[in-house]
């Protein structure tokens, strides 16, 4: 009897641990594949990319200097981007959040069609088919959303779809502190 107790206890402890971690993963609180961003507290990496909707214009992070804003990396090939799109529109239209998009590794025509169908939450959209800006921002999946403060410093990053709890917990406090949201 006593011989069986040690392996049994070890098995139960491991099973409990796996169960607990699986629970965290299902709630989206733990992602073993997450690659933590290196950018928090650093200045937003520069880029100058053509605007998806008007290739003669250039989109650059310096356009946004002086306010708190979100940078959202998306593509029509990314299912989570379709899921979060409505919420981005809500943020842009109801909460007045300035959102700049990076359309990453996408077909321009498909990206425009998606915006026509679902609406456009972005002030500007940088078109980045070759990951030029994406690599500088350490992007490895989509959607990824960065918060940049009025001084041009990256303060927050969220990997995965933005929803209400992400907005309230991660992003909103910065807009409130800057007087850009209530």
């Amino acid at each position: 009897m006593t011989r069986a107790i040690v392996p049994l206890a070890a098995f139960l402890a491991l099973a409990g641990l796996f169960w607990y971690v699986l629970g965290l993963m299902n709630q989206g609180e733990y992602n073993p594949r997450d690659v933590p961003t290196q950018l928090i507290g650093r200045s937003a990496p520069a880029f100058a990319l053509p605007d998806l909707l008007d290739p003669n214009k250039t989109v650059s992070p310096t356009d946004m200097a002086g306010k708190v804003w979100l940078l959202n990396v998306w593509g029509t090939w990314c299912p989570e981007c379709w899921k979060e799109h409505d919420y981005l529109i809500h943020l842009a239209r109801r909460e007045g959040v300035p959102i700049v998009g990076i359309n990453w590794r996408d077909e321009a025509a498909e990206a425009k069609a998606m915006l026509t169908r679902l609406g456009n939450p972005f002030l500007h959209i940088a078109f980045d088919p070759n990951s030029n800006a994406a690599i500088d921002w350490g992007v490895y999946g989509a959607p990824e959303t960065f918060l940049i403060d009025a001084d041009g410093v990256v303060r927050e990053k969220h990997t995965g779809a933005v929803n209400r709890s992400v907005w309230e917990e991660k992003f909103k406090p910065y807009f409130v502190a800057a007087g850009q949201a209530t």
Binding site: R33, V35, P36, Q38, R105, N130, S131, A134, I135, D136, W137, G138, V139, Y140, G141
Partner: protein, 156 residues
């Protein structure tokens, strides 16, 4: 009998052959070496158990192109590795440097080995102690003398 085996080996090799599709021109064999070394040692962030060389993920294609461009510009392997670490963290290196956060990773296997060997030796010692009969000396002497008398009788 042998044919299926060759077929299986051939198919296995095919998967190695298709992984890298781009054809690159280098200025020198050193540059080509650097490039091959880097794409073998940098991790694909999308399919995380593959290196850049083996991955067909789109980001891996772009990171290979970036690596190629930087090699062509004459940047050193260290400069290019630092560039990647600066953006993606040390996770991008398949061989992480030894520091406080990776100490367990480097030392852990050896600690487990030492624990395992210690447990094994203890078990072996205990088993040996259990198996050796705990017979008192005088009992052994009696047994020996009995055996001797037995033999004497038989020899006589």
């Amino acid at each position: 009998m042998r044919r299926p085996l060759f077929l299986i080996i051939g198919l296995a090799l095919l998967s190695l052959a298709h992984a890298r599709v781009e054809v690159h021109q280098f200025d020198s064999p050193e540059q080509e070496d650097s490039y091959n070394k880097l794409v073998a040692e940098l991790r694909c962030l999308v399919c995380q158990n593959q290196n850049l060389a083996d991955s067909n993920a789109e980001l891996a294609v772009d990171l290979r192109r970036k690596t190629y461009e930087m090699v062509k510009q004459g940047q050193s392997e260290k400069q290019i590795a630092d560039f990647m670490v600066d953006r993606y963290g040390e996770f991008v290196l398949y061989r992480p440097p030894l520091n406080s956060s990776t100490l367990l990773l480097w030392v852990g296997p050896f600690v487990i080995l030492v624990i395992g060997v210690t447990l094994l030796l203890r078990t072996i010692r205990r088993r040996r102690a259990e198996q050796s009969p705990g017979v008192a000396d005088d009992t052994l002497k009696t047994a020996a003398s009995l055996l001797d008398t037995d033999r004497d009788k038989r020899d006589a």
